[in-house]
């Protein structure tokens, strides 16, 4: 095991910080559409983390399944809710107070 270079450490630290930040925003946002988009961004960042951990096959599965297909399913569900409630623009998770 070679000593990791400073730039690699910085990159990995950035990915970790980005993951935590995305999750925090994703869980605290009040808008469903924003949450879905953040979830997709989170999945892609997680795929990057898997690549950095030396598991490109899991990174592929995360990007294709966790982000692509799940993101599409979430968008589909969001669209259903938007159509069903008669408005196509952003849906709040809770009523704005």
């Amino acid at each position: 095991m070679t000593e990791p270079s400073l730039s690699a450490l910085l990159l990995d630290g950035l990915v970790v910080l980005l993951l935590v930040g995305l999750v925090f925003r994703l869980l605290s946002t009040r808008h469903l559409f924003e949450a879905v988009m953040l979830y997709v961004a989170y999945g892609l960042t997680l795929a990057l983390a898997w690549v950095r951990l030396g598991a490109p096959d899991i990174a592929l599965a995360e990007a294709a399944l966790g982000t692509g297909v799940t993101g599409a399913l979430f968008l589909n569900a969001w669209h259903r809710l938007a159509v069903r409630s008669g408005k196509d623009d952003d849906l709040p998770m809770e009523p704005e107070s």
Binding site: G68, A72, S85, G86
Partner: protein, 305 residues
């Protein structure tokens, strides 16, 4: 929910009776009592103190996270140190040179078999949400007059298809395999479906079911047909491991792709805004339509009232 409705004098005032046996009340069209429908997006007036709730949640989650982290550390320490050497020693006999594929498709083939069976079960579950009668889950395709979308499709779909074939083949020597390939194919399929180019049939169509079950069926057929030669389920005879694994991976990739697209297609169709449904389901319960029983025949209704 049974399609034949009971006509023994139930009324809308009893919530449990109304939800289980749709009958003569004003909600006979769907059998769902308005009082039963929980708000999904609208304000129901009740409020917990959000700040207090957040702190309580944090207090609860912190020890849980710590326990998980400690447990994971323990698990990493307690794994059997002989396993990597064992896998490396017997890898030449698996017919493949990638240890992950060797474990998944040879040493522990039944794990992968059950994994695909779970996927098939998930597809059936989603399909059953809409009583599984529709042959097509999404609206009719439309002509593409959007140049950007067309350009993206022309680039992405063939690339995804080619990459999926490559990944299936690559799985025997490098980190890749049927699940990644299937997911990529499914991504292309969903893209085409959303763009309105492709209109995949639901799982009500026989070919869809045959292909989706093909992964599990292939595994079982191979597993049983090697029994006379090797005496064990899914133990490949010498020299046959590589072609069998490659064939199984190909069947798996196609099955996984079809199942994942079906998860997308088989959900109850995106409903057009239906004012009649608002009377019983003003909150847009996504399952409101799917759970609605069959319309009551006129003579049945007369008997009930």
């Amino acid at each position: 929910m049974t399609p034949s409705t009971s006509s023994s004098g139930d009324n809308g005032a009893d919530p449990s009776g109304a939800s289980s046996t749709p009958g003569s009340s004003g909600t006979a069209a769907t059998g769902v009592d308005a009082a039963d429908v929980r708000p999904l997006l609208e304000d129901d007036g009740s409020r917990d103190d959000p700040a207090l709730l957040k702190w309580l949640l944090g207090l609860l989650l912190l020890p849980m996270g710590l326990a998980l982290a400690l447990g994971l550390r323990g698990a990493a320490d307690s794994r059997d140190p002989r396993i990597p050497d064992l896998v490396a020693e017997f890898l030449p006999e698996t017919g493949v040179s990638n240890p992950v594929t060797g474990v998944l498709l040879n040493f522990r083939g039944y794990d992968t078999l059950l994994e695909v069976a779970v996927l098939v079960a998930a597809m059936v579950a989603v399909w059953s949400l809409d009583r599984g009668e529709r042959l097509f889950g999404l609206p009719r395709g439309r002509d593409l007059d959007e140049p950007v979308l067309t350009a993206i499709l022309r680039l992405a779909v063939p690339t995804a298809f080619l990459t999926a074939v490559y990944l299936t083949w690559l799985g025997s020597s490098e980190p890749a395999g049927a699940f990644q390939a299937g997911a990529l194919l499914a991504g292309a399929g969903v893209l085409l479906t959303v763009a309105g180019v492709l209109r995949p049939p639901t799982a009500a169509a026989l070919p869809v079911r045959v292909i989706a079950a093909g992964g599990v069926a292939g595994f079982v057929v191979v597993g049983i047909s090697v029994l006379p030669f090797t005496g064990a389920f899914l133990a490949y005879p010498e020299g046959w491991a590589y072609p069998l694994i490659l064939g199984l991976e190909a069947a798996l990739a196609v099955a996984v792709a079809v199942i994942l697209v079906e998860l997308f297609v088989d959900v109850p169709s995106i409903p057009v805004h239906d004012p009649a449904l608002d009377a019983v389901d003003p909150y847009g319960d996504p399952l409101g339509r799917a759970l609605a029983p069959d319309p009551v025949p006129p003579e049945d209704e007369g008997e009930a009232s």
